[in-house]
Subunit: 432 residues, 2 copies
Amino acid sequence: MSILPVAKLPELPPDNSMLYRKFGREVANYFSGSPLNRVSFLRTDHKFLGAAFTHPSARFLLVDNLAPLVHDTKPPRLAWSTRAEIAPVIASNPFEKTEEEVIRSYNSDLEPQPIVLFLGLDEKDTFSSAVGVETRQTETESAFSFNSFSGSPYFAIDVTPRGNGAIAAKARALVKASTAKGLLFYGNARSMNLSAPEAAVYGQARGLFDWNARNPFCAGCGQPTLSVNAGMKRTCPPTDLAGVESNGVPKDRRPCETRKGVSNLSFPRTDPTVIMATVSADGTKVLLGRSKRFPKHWYSTLAGFLEPGESVEEAVRREVWEESGVTVGRVVIHSSQPWPFPANLMIGAVGQALPGKGEDIFLGHDPELEDAKWFTMDEVRRALQYETAGIGDPVREGYKEGDLRLPPATAIANQLISSVVEGFHELTQSKI
Amino acid sequence: MSILPVAKLPELPPDNSMLYRKFGREVANYFSGSPLNRVSFLRTDHKFLGAAFTHPSARFLLVDNLAPLVHDTKPPRLAWSTRAEIAPVIASNPFEKTEEEVIRSYNSDLEPQPIVLFLGLDEKDTFSSAVGVETRQTETESAFSFNSFSGSPYFAIDVTPRGNGAIAAKARALVKASTAKGLLFYGNARSMNLSAPEAAVYGQARGLFDWNARNPFCAGCGQPTLSVNAGMKRTCPPTDLAGVESNGVPKDRRPCETRKGVSNLSFPRTDPTVIMATVSADGTKVLLGRSKRFPKHWYSTLAGFLEPGESVEEAVRREVWEESGVTVGRVVIHSSQPWPFPANLMIGAVGQALPGKGEDIFLGHDPELEDAKWFTMDEVRRALQYETAGIGDPVREGYKEGDLRLPPATAIANQLISSVVEGFHELTQSKI
């Protein structure tokens, strides 16, 4: 099994660091841990992007309808294309003009170009060697460098065919040619059997392509927007060349608030979500719930979206009370997980119920759960042994029908449950 | 001084809870700690909302251009209006029809009604008594209750006059009448001198009014949207009565992806932001930076937006490296703070630099900071004594020109800095 249930940190802190000795090893959840350096401050620099795009070591992940191109292996591995292989959809360097020039030449009548998303630089070949990508074609080929930055550039390209234009036709042809080679667009990436570094890189691409696709219009003014910053921004262009004769002066568009200063509407949205293991007041039990769509006997931690004006800790208390009736006191944040379905940041926490009536379960506030129950640490410990990779996977050998089932190690829910079973919440014993 | 620098929790966990004994007291930051129960699952229930709105104990916060109506005191106190006082802008119960009926009668030609935002129920008069609001007009008046829920209902109303219609004229008149009574719309709420529970409730209202105002159009299809769920959702109505004769059939609008299932675009956006105190590898120093717009000698923790595909811990490492060149190993999340300017969730963390070259400061990656520096714990401890309430406030007595200055206790930056000075990161001494 090549699944890495928990992502590897690219740069592990020394085990004798003070924070390590006080709080233990950092939990790096699945979908985190990309070894690429995003050099985010260079995304507006078309000189950098163009040099990276045209360098022979650049590699491209093709994504069709959010499904990544993969090798048809078990488990699947992401397939990385060279520039020659993507040429049928993107023949020339899309970063030739400056970003300002691209915005000035915006024409809403033209079919949008496929988004070329800059994922980052693989500075020390960490990613390439982990996932078996050969970015040097000859031994004498020099590595990519720009100012003080170096490493193989990684990109993703959205080849989803949209509409019936010439660009969509080319995208459709490339999708077909890729699968004809024996590769496939893997529509089941949510089942989480990519290796950890691949999952992190794919998660970044999925999140950004989905955000671009969901937001073709400006929420501030209703006019169409244009993807810039190598996929990390959608801008509301001030002018439009649609219907203007060539070499003519572009027409002004309606005014828009997002053009004044920096607007969050122009940048990708990430929805903070709280997910929590709640322990009983005496620390011997953990509260889990199940929704109707879960398989039989399957329970998980409670979760919900954080609302405006709430801290993480407050959102945890509100969600637990709304869904289960239990009143939580102290909340400690445990770890976090990017969750690109479509755009969540899972913030994992451990909470402790108030004693007595605080532990009473009542499902009638918000009828979201089918059931919620207190489980003993022993029941949970046993169930962790039978964890499977995905919600639909067959049960492991030895599982007794009727026993509790839990989410896989790739889910932060599992990490939270494991941590309370291991005593995350227990009193620090002072043994002076 | 009636400033509460750190918010009070409505329901404090017992000090002998396991999580308390292991991790210490929960840090509840300013803008968190609302004592109101949002009963979020009742926001679609117009029977509940209408009963709450029309109950004599209901109170309303008027907000004009994001500025709350306050009593002209030092510090200011939020002014709460009765239903009779808001009648000039909202004469009848806005929740008379069901939400479905409201959506069906959408007419884009009509001037939008002021948003009536449901803030929550004050279940045990916690809020009313903390901020001196008398919600019972007579002794015999019964408290509001609905099913198993009870408490005085709190709302906020956006009375910003927009355009020149009849509703804007009424709003303008009410704004004028309110200030004529000696109250004022407090445009300086960012200076954070409201009491902690008032700040939490105002923060909720500010965040939601701002989100509604920034998003009049649907990012999925470009058509205008309608505020529903008592201010917590903007829906893209499927039909429009504009131009249709009375009693005519509404016209279908263009199709929209957000109408299929649940779309995050319909719900308020909150931008996760990381903010971190970085300690040196040996734990004796803390890394702080300053931007050009800070007053002289003022430094703070570094901060930045989390990006799609990142965990909190990764975003901390990326931002510290991009802004200061320092390489961070272990990251521990500390606490969180809602920050309604306009829609941030500040996730506070403590990180530890890798030893040696990892601590070298280099400002050339992303030239966002004017300076970044390692300060000794002693320098920082001294500076915490001179903290002032706001960035523009005069320096406290005893401050020596040239010494470090730091953000006020209402900022999570201050809480993070204080916690490392108090040894948050230090080795747990094992004294067996």
